[in-house]
């Protein structure tokens, strides 16, 4: 395997911004000549100095962004085993259907009878999300998982408000993703951590002690962020329900269990789904996503408004929901992302989705097997779709860190795995290969990992100097925070 980051190096231009290319009077835009009398607001309202946008030609723009794109690594460039993010292959057909004029060029406020296709799609997707998670109804409105979390927690809050007053605490495992505690706080609850036990699972005894009438609920990712299935889930559900709490399912790891088991059957009352992960929307450099939230029957009244309802006159957006927690964003959610999720779900079908999780688990376990020596799993149990190993072993004499491993992987042509998360694992390397990587690619990645482990002993400086094949080398993050330069 020859060496080199699979992205374009800087090339002849250096890191010049478009502003540097700007020349007074140069332009790309063009509009039809104004065909009505000019009418402008009064002077008092008017902008004096023009906005300092760059003045460039179309050719400048095309080359600038083409060049920048080539300096970026994506799933289309290679394996992207970023744990917890499910960076799987994104079928190109999803882009085709999302670009259909009937979906792409609809105004969010046009009357329902002119948007029957869009509403039917949303209705069908809601049905599918409910079937997959075992929920009664779902809202498609949250634009991402974190917003889904807040939605679910506000539903929890509204539910308790109606049933014997407010509760203050929401329990989350210490291995939880950062959005969980943050959402708990934003929903007005106090986040109470429950420790993981030696298995890397929720410590049920400890949980039992935390359970009281102030517990509004528990947030759980299952399989958890270690990729391990919470085998005590039934008992956990009993405990929480026993004190009148609700169970919240963080769906970020849903890719592990499609068609195998359903949060609803495990006792969860609220579920969010990261459609951009499980149902393959390109992550877009950081977004957009979609975070539909499903709930059990008794929580349906609290779902955000509007919902999509099927009536004899066709599909409608129903706004009249007296007990609803309200709306989470401006319109109908990240509709374009939902179209892609719909395409993904119905292209796969029941068996196809089951196969997705089977292959995801197979790939994760196979990769772990290949690298377990020298990168042992942090916990003994068999992982599902992802796993967490530790680079602890490499610190040894040369103090090589997980981050050094990550950077060296770049020079070997791969996007690194997630590092230093979950926090409960020292020198954590969290790997989620996803089901769309081939056996050969997993083996090539494993070979790279073993090479890095050897180099950590034979040539640790190589790791500390990495990456060397990229447009820039290690960047000074401390400096960025000290001398804030946030615009040109």
């Amino acid at each position: 395997m020859s060496i080199g980051a699979p992205i374009r190096t800087q090339g002849p231009e250096g890191p010049t911004t478009l502003k540097d290319r700007s020349r007074p009077g140069r332009r790309a835009f063009g509009f039809a000549a104004l065909d009505v009398p000019e009418a402008l607001p009064d002077e008092g309202f008017r902008r004096r100095a023009p906005a300092g946008l760059p003045e460039v030609a179309e050719v400048d723009i095309v080359r600038h962004f083409t060049r920048l794109s080539q300096m970026n690594y994506g799933v289309d460039t290679g394996m992207y085993p970023l744990g917890s993010c499910t960076m799987k292959h994104n079928p190109k057909v999803a882009e085709t259907v999302a670009a259909l004029p009937g979906f792409q060029r609809l105004h969010p406020l046009q009357p329902d009878h002119t948007a029957q296709g869009a509403l039917e799609m949303m209705w069908g997707l809601e049905q599918a999300m409910c079937e997959i998670t075992g929920m009664a109804r779902a809202t498609l409105q949250p634009p991402a998982g974190a917003c889904g979390e807040m939605t679910g927690l506000l539903i929890m809050r509204a539910y308790h408000a109606q049933h014997g007053g407010s509760r203050t605490k929401v329990i989350i495992p210490d291995s939880a993703h950062g959005t969980n505690p943050a959402s708990v706080r934003l929903a007005g609850f106090e986040a109470v951590p429950v420790p993981s036990d030696a298995r890397g699972l929720v410590d049920v005894e400890a949980l039992e002690k935390l359970c009281d009438d102030q517990v509004a609920g528990l947030m759980l990712t299952n399989p958890n962020t270690l990729g391990l299935f919470e085998t005590d889930i039934v008992r956990i559900a009993e405990l929480i329900h026993g004190v009148g709490g609700l169970l919240y399912y963080d769906g970020a790891n849903l890719n592990a269990i499609l068609g195998r088991c359903r949060p609803g059957d495990m006792g969860f009352d609220i579920v969010h789904i990261n459609t951009h992960k499980t149902f393959a929307t390109p992550h877009g450099g950081g977004g957009p996503g979609a975070g539909p939230v499903g709930v059990v029957e008794r929580l349906v009244p609290y779902l955000p408004a509007p919902t999509v309802e099927r009536t004899t006159e066709g599909f409608v957006l129903e706004h009249d929901r007296p007990h609803s927690i309200g709306r989470l964003q401006g319109f109908n959610g990240n509709f374009g992302v939902l179209v892609r999720a719909y395409a993904y779900v119905f292209a796969h079908g029941a068996d196809g989705l089951k196969a997705v999780s089977e292959r995801a688990a197979l790939n994760a376990n196979y990769l772990l097997r290949l690298i377990a020596e020298p990168f042992p799993a942090a916990y003994p149990g068999r992982p599902l779709h992802e796993f967490v190993t530790t680079a602890r072993g490499l610190r040894g004499a040369h103090d090589v860190r997980a981050m050094d491993v990550a950077k060296r992987l770049i020079d070997l042509g791969f996007h690194p795995c997630t590092v230093y998360f979950p926090l409960v694992v020292e020198e954590a390397l969290m790997m989620e290969p996803t089901e769309t990587e081939t056996k050969e690619t997993l083996e090539a990645f494993a070979a790279a990992m073993l090479q890095v482990a050897r180099e950590a002993v034979t040539d640790p400086q190589l790791l500390r100097d990495a990456p060397v094949t990229t447009p820039v080398r290690r960047l000074d993050e401390a400096r960025a925070a000290r001398h804030l330069t946030l615009h040109w």
């Binding site: 309202f45 917003c147 068996d351 196809g352």
Partner: protein, 440 residues
């Protein structure tokens, strides 16, 4: 359709290496009593060919803005999206990457976001922008969260703010423990907010939900005397013509970025814009990109001030946003580059002029008048109709025109009409005569 590349041989070889006899073994840690007995109640999988046929049929049941001449606005606008925007933003290296945690092989996205932040600062005349939020409504909610603090909990909101934004604020308020307090408009603008020392912020939308220009300086002036933060909801494409929030005295400016090169998409994905003053940078939600140097002294870009964020601060973070709308921000950056300062100004000039012309033509129709006759507006205006706006809107749909968005004002007799550079004089005249027919 399946995308997992495994052959039967792959599966058996991999299982063998794991010492497993079947795929089911991979899941045996799942308690039997929670397993799915049979099969999910979903249809069988289909081929790409069938999928495209089915979804094309679905989309065919919609009447897109290719087909209906669109005068609807109210926060989402039918501006022209130049071809180069998605030819570039759609480049798969951007599209299939994620949050640039590993900056060395993410310089593309990072530099675009740095340029995005820079352009938003140029637009708003403020000092810092983040790298995107979900949409305009959530951006407002985040701005309010930024503003609230010990002893300052109250939030005054102009009745001129988009009702969907207010609803969203209410939802967020349920968790955060505040109830946005609306103050009425007078003749469609202004109003008399009652300040007290515990007011955290005042929110004004300019142009407001009726398209009307607000006396922002006055409202904000008083707010600052009371030490309250000033939050303006703005329309980015108004800023070639209208004074930027920074000059109007806004501490925080939030807006909907959809009109910056993003399609209507029935409401999303859109783009939440937020800009503020430098002192507030550490209270800013979401990703922020900063410039720095690498070990060789080469300029590069990284995510900075991450200590603010949920993945570090966890329950102490004042936002939970993780996945954001980066791709829309990339599209917006391409679009703003295409516009440039002259394009931004010309675009504003055309919207304003066409709105003025449309208002005049429509008011020539018997029984139609402006809801607030003397209020100055930008690209949108509210009409008072002799009949319920919904009915009129629906009848005009029959004539191939999406005439606008009905409002609750004037007991449902108000219609909000928006004009973009795409609307031609011919289309405006056609709207006016169709309106005449429908109302005669």
């Amino acid at each position: 359709m399946r995308f997992a590349p495994h052959t039967d041989d792959d599966v058996s070889e991999m299982l063998a290496a794991l010492g497993l006899s079947g795929l089911d073994d991979l899941f045996d840690q799942i308690p039997t009593d929670v397993r799915v007995g049979g099969r999910l109640d979903l249809p069988d999988g289909i081929s790409e060919m069938e999928l495209v046929a089915q979804m094309t049929a679905l989309a065919g049941h919609d009447r897109s803005t290719d087909d209906l001449v669109c005068f609807a606005g109210a926060g989402a606008y039918d501006h022209y999206v130049p071809s180069l925007v998605w030819a570039l933003a759609g480049r798969s290296e951007f599209q299939t990457s994620y949050t640039p945690y590993q900056p060395e092989l993410s310089q593309g996205v990072l530099q675009v976001l740095f340029e995005f932040q820079s352009m938003i600062c140029e637009l708003t005349a403020l000092e810092v922008s983040n790298a995107s939020l979900y949409d305009g409504a959530t951006a407002l909610a985040e701005a309010v969260t930024m503003s609230r603090g010990a002893g300052r909990g109250r939030v005054l909101v102009s009745a001129g703010v988009d009702p969907r934004y207010v609803e969203t604020l209410r939802t967020y308020g349920r968790g955060a423990g505040y109830e946005p307090q609306l103050f009425d408009l007078q003749d469609g603008r202004g109003g008399a907010p009652v300040f007290t020392p515990d007011v955290a912020a005042i929110v004004v939308q300019h142009p407001n939900r009726l398209g009307i220009l607000e006396p922002v300086r006055e409202l904000f002036g008083e707010a600052r005397d009371w030490g309250a933060r000033t939050i303006q909801v703005f329309d980015p494409l108004s800023l070639g013509v209208l004074s930027p929030p920074g000059e109007l005295g806004a501490d925080i400016a939030v807006g909907e970025g959809q009109s910056l090169g993003n399609h209507l998409n029935f409401g999303g994905p859109y783009l939440g814009l937020i800009a503020a003053r430098l002192d507030d940078v550490r209270r800013m939600p979401g990703r922020i990109v900063g410039e720095t140097l690498d070990v060789d002294g080469t300029t590069g870009y990284v995510l900075t001030l991450q200590a603010r964020e949920q993945h570090i601060r966890r329950e102490k973070a004042n936002s939970n946003v993780c996945t954001n709308q980066t791709l829309m921000a990339i599209a917006a950056t391409v679009y703003m580059s295409w516009l440039g300062p002259q394009g931004l100004a010309e675009l504003g000039r055309q919207c304003a002029s066409k709105a003025a012309y449309a208002a005049q033509r429509l008011c020539e129709v018997d029984g139609v008048e402006l809801l607030h006759p003397d209020a100055p507006f930008f690209k949108e205006f509210a009409l008072r109709l002799p009949r319920p706006a919904e009915d009129v809107r629906d009848e005009l749909v029959e004539r191939g025109i999406l005439a606008g968005v009905p409002l609750e004002d004037a007991d449902g007799h108000a219609l909000l009409v928006a004009l973009t550079e795409r609307r031609t004089r011919r289309q405006i005249d056609a709207l006016a005569s169709a309106m005449g027919e429908v109302l005669s």
